[in-house]
């Protein structure tokens, strides 16, 4: 794929491990685990009482004195991350000189809690007593719309849903919009809030970690570990500021990384078919013009502690990297630290890779002891490591969803 080269010029995030790219990176490096007892809601009906919750979340710190009442948790998280990303990149409202900013947001539910609250209120009290605020926020693009209003983002405004792959989908789409000239500056990333509604959905589907409800067995999300028993629910928001390389250089912006390529595929039969689909997506990403001849430094996998998905993802990564002789590359799985933040997961993975491309330090996978028999990724390790970063070195983020979509995103050191 030809067109303009795309670079990352700003980072903004809110995560259970901090609200700055540096704090986030350092926490991952020391193996800090942000998955803790949930305080946001009563988690006693879940197989695990733990989640990757942002605590305390004080939106006023990012949003100031303006009226926050119309905004639910998802919107507040996204707008806060946008504040950080705009400050970091220099694209604050007063500094745009007519440049139009676009937004691509990955999310699975936007706010399933808001949607549920809206409907339950109507059920309990009658249709006349529902909240118009809640109704406005019940559309799945609500957070993207609220962020656009808050930060005056008047360009393309898209919301991309794809479960665990949503965030990488949004970054890939944002980069494509810049390459083809449909947009000049795109805030791309994702958001998800931790809530009862989505957590009970996964718990009842047997996908969360932990044993029987009501027992003390809360489990623990340990990606790739033989004893893994599911993922922990998580939350967060993150946005990368993407722009054309030439324009970024012209305005003297700090360039964190290049978007070297992306690949998107689908597994029609799901299950084991996901491995083949991910391998294809990785090969597509690598075949992009932007990949150049760089060597692969590391992989930020989307593995979450899910029993089957982790195995399929490992298999897909190994098969995708085989042809490049890169199957031994170091592999991380930061959902061990953060839980499964769905729409925000992909951008968390990308931010971790960007930090590693910056200083060569790579987080380990806390809790990882023994992998499955025949586990194909020799580069998965419990310990943090250091790697040597050459200019143009590549880093890969991967994600698969049990529902079929898979994504691969390739970043390059500037």
């Amino acid at each position: 794929m030809s067109g303009r080269e795309v670079v990352v010029t700003g980072l903004g995030l809110l995560s259970p491990l901090g609200d700055s790219a540096d704090a986030f990176h350092e926490a991952l490096l020391v193996g800090e685990v942000g998955v803790k007892p949930i305080e946001l809601f009563d988690s006693s009906l879940l197989t695990t009482r733990n989640g990757g919750e942002i605590r305390p979340f004080e939106p006023e710190r990012y949003l100031g004195e303006r009226n926050l009442r119309p905004l639910d948790r998802t919107s507040r998280l996204l707008i806060s991350a946008a504040t950080r990303a705009l400050e970091d990149s220099g694209w604050t409202e007063g500094a745009r000189n007519g440049t139009e900013l676009s937004l691509a947001v990955g999310t699975t539910y936007c706010s399933m809690h808001t949607i549920g609250e809206f409907d339950r209120r109507g059920l309990k009290l009658g249709p006349n007593y529902v909240s118009p605020f809640d109704f406005a926020n019940s559309v799945i693009n609500a957070a993207a719309g609220q962020a656009a209003i808050w930060h005056k983002l008047t360009g393309v405004n898209s919301t991309l849903a794809g479960g665990e792959t949503s965030g990488l989908q949004a970054i890939a789409y944002g980069a494509d919009l810049i390459r083809t000239g449909q947009a000049d500056v795109v805030l791309a990333g994702g958001v998800e809030e931790l809530c009862f509604e989505s957590s009970i959905a996964y718990s009842r589907a047997g996908r969360l970690c932990g044993g029987e409800v009501g027992t003390d067995d809360d489990g623990r999300p340990v990606p790739f570990d033989r004893g893994r028993d599911g993922f922990a629910p998580g939350e967060g928001a993150g946005l990368l500021v993407l722009e054309a390389a030439e324009a970024a250089e012209a305005r003297g912006a700090k360039i964190y990384a290049r978007i070297a390529g992306s690949g998107s595929a689908f597994a029609p039969r799901r299950n084991g078919d996901l491995s083949a689909a991910l391998a294809r997506a990785i090969r597509t990403a690598w075949a992009s013009n932007g990949a150049g001849g760089g060597a692969l430094l590391c992989v930020a996998s989307g593995a979450s502690g899910a029993r089957d998905l982790d195995a399929w993802e490992a298999e897909g990564i190994a098969r995708g990297l085989e042809a490049r002789g890169a199957a031994e590359a170091p592999v991380t799985a930061i959902k061990a630290n953060l839980g499964e933040a769905l729409g925000a997961s992909g951008v968390f993975q990308a931010m971790s890779l960007i930090a590693t491309l910056g200083d060569g330090r790579l987080p380990g996978i806390p809790g990882l002891q023994t992998t499955d028999e025949g586990f194909p990724l020799s580069g998965a390790s419990a310990a943090a490591r250091t790697v040597a970063v050459a200019p143009g070195a590549l880093a890969l983020a991967t994600a698969i969803s049990a529902d079929g979509p898979v994504m691969a995103l390739l970043l390059a050191a500037p």
Partner: protein, 409 residues
């Protein structure tokens, strides 16, 4: 200038299934408004809806159990199968390397609202112990695109785009980018939404639902009527469509996506975002406003939308413009995330068939909506270029331009 061919159309609407039924229905001014059947409206101030009638999902969902998916997916799978058959492609006979080059992108407003409504019923009724794994298995909106792809065996890019009532156009724009970038050789692009008590209740609370019929652009218009359905287009690069000898209804010439960044549910008072979307679509198409032969309006029939939409059209086309602009929402209601996809199919058919569907129920003109809205009677006229406009909660605006194949080649 973009050159993406529309080679197949699939429709599931409140006035019927398939463009062979829907198109003559639209030209004849058929109405899809009926008393709501899904839920009891006795506590609501209005009682009409636009539901898809006589729809049997089992006729369309073939590779997976019908009950493994919810209603918007049923409608989306049906429209996708129709569109693919219309494009002359048999999904049962796809070589694996072909299937890998075929992708799906679908838009929606609410995804699968019936599933979270069931969760509400269980929570409010203190019956949460009855909840199993089906909520995770049927609710997330990306399942609509996933189910379509699984049914058709499409292994290429797969993208759900929940940008509310402009989502169909957003999905088409996404598919255009995927095709231009060479990420896929064929894309299913469309939208699907299910009728739901949540949507009905919400629009009712906003006072936006008409009690009787939808009268876009008419003086005494009283609102929209929520509906459901699905619209799907098969899109391919024109050269590959030509090389396989496909029938080409129309080509996508360009698009424009913008955001008002003004208010979640109220449109910009000067029609700023919609005007910029139209202008951007014209620019990417290499066309000027006077080359547009037909505009498919967002045209919900609410007092505010139609007035501000007129303002935006004036900004782009000039005050006193004679461009025909009609709203099929007067017949099929507002099908939410499906609306602009269905209307995109209407634009392609208008070009291919040489007819413009009417705006029905038009009685008294409104000086604030002084447009040629093709009142009440379909019009036979050559349509070279059609513009499809859609606006949404969140301030999302999307215009897509279709043109007669090779009209400017």
């Amino acid at each position: 200038m973009i050159s993406i061919a529309v080679t197949g159309l699939g429709l599931a609407t409140p006035i019927g299934l398939g463009h062979e039924t829907v198109w003559p229905g639209l030209l004849a001014g058929r109405s899809g408004f009926r008393p709501v059947g899904l839920f009891d409206t006795s506590r609501h101030g209005t009682h009409l809806g636009a539901e898809v009638q006589d729809f049997d999902p089992a006729a369309w969902v073939r590779r997976t159990p019908v009950e493994s998916m919810s209603r918007a997916s049923h409608l989306g799978v049906a429209a996708a199968r129709m569109a693919l058959e219309d494009a002359g492609i048999d999904p049962e006979n796809l070589a694996p390397e072909t299937a890998e080059r075929f992708g799906v992108t679908m838009g929606t407003t609410s995804g699968e609202p019936l599933e979270i409504e069931r969760l509400s019923d269980l929570m409010v009724g203190d019956r949460l112990d009855e909840l199993g794994g089906e909520l995770a298995g049927r609710y997330p909106c990306h399942l609509i695109a996933a189910h379509v792809a699984a049914e058709l065996g499409f292994a290429g890019p797969n993208q759900m785009i929940p940008t509310a009532c402009a989502a169909g156009n957003y999905a088409i724009a996404f598919a255009v980018e995927a095709l231009l970038a060479g990420r896929a050789d064929l894309m299913i692009a469309g939208g699907a939404d299910s009728f739901s008590r949540m949507t009905y209740t919400g629009f009712g609370k906003l006072g936006a639902i008409a009690p009787d019929v939808v009268r876009p652009f008419a003086k005494n218009r009283k609102g929209m009527i929520p509906g459901e359905g699905s619209g799907v287009l098969v899109l391919e690069r024109t050269e590959s469509a030509l090389s396989r000898g496909a029938r080409i209804y129309a080509e996508v010439a360009g698009y424009g996506l913008t955001c008002d960044a003004h208010h979640m549910t109220a449109a910009h008072p000067e029609g700023d975002g919609p005007a910029r979307a139209m202008e951007r679509a014209l620019r990417t198409s290499g066309l000027s406003a006077d080359e547009i032969s037909y505009v498919s309006a967002h045209g919900t029939g609410t007092p505010t939308n139609d007035k501000l939409e007129t303002l935006a059209v004036h900004r782009v086309f000039g005050r006193g413009t004679k461009v025909p602009i009609s709203s099929i929402k007067s017949m099929i209601g507002h099908t939410m995330g499906a609306a602009s996809a269905i209307e995109a199919a209407v634009c392609a058919l208008a070009i291919h068939e040489g007819w413009i569907p009417p705006t029905t129920n038009y009685d008294e003109p409104d000086p604030e909506c002084d447009l040629d809205c093709v009142p009440n009677q379909a019009r036979q006229v050559r349509v070279d270029v059609a513009m499809n406009n859609a606006y949404a909660f969140g301030g999302n605006n999307a215009s897509v331009i279709f043109r007669r194949p090779h009209v400017r080649a």
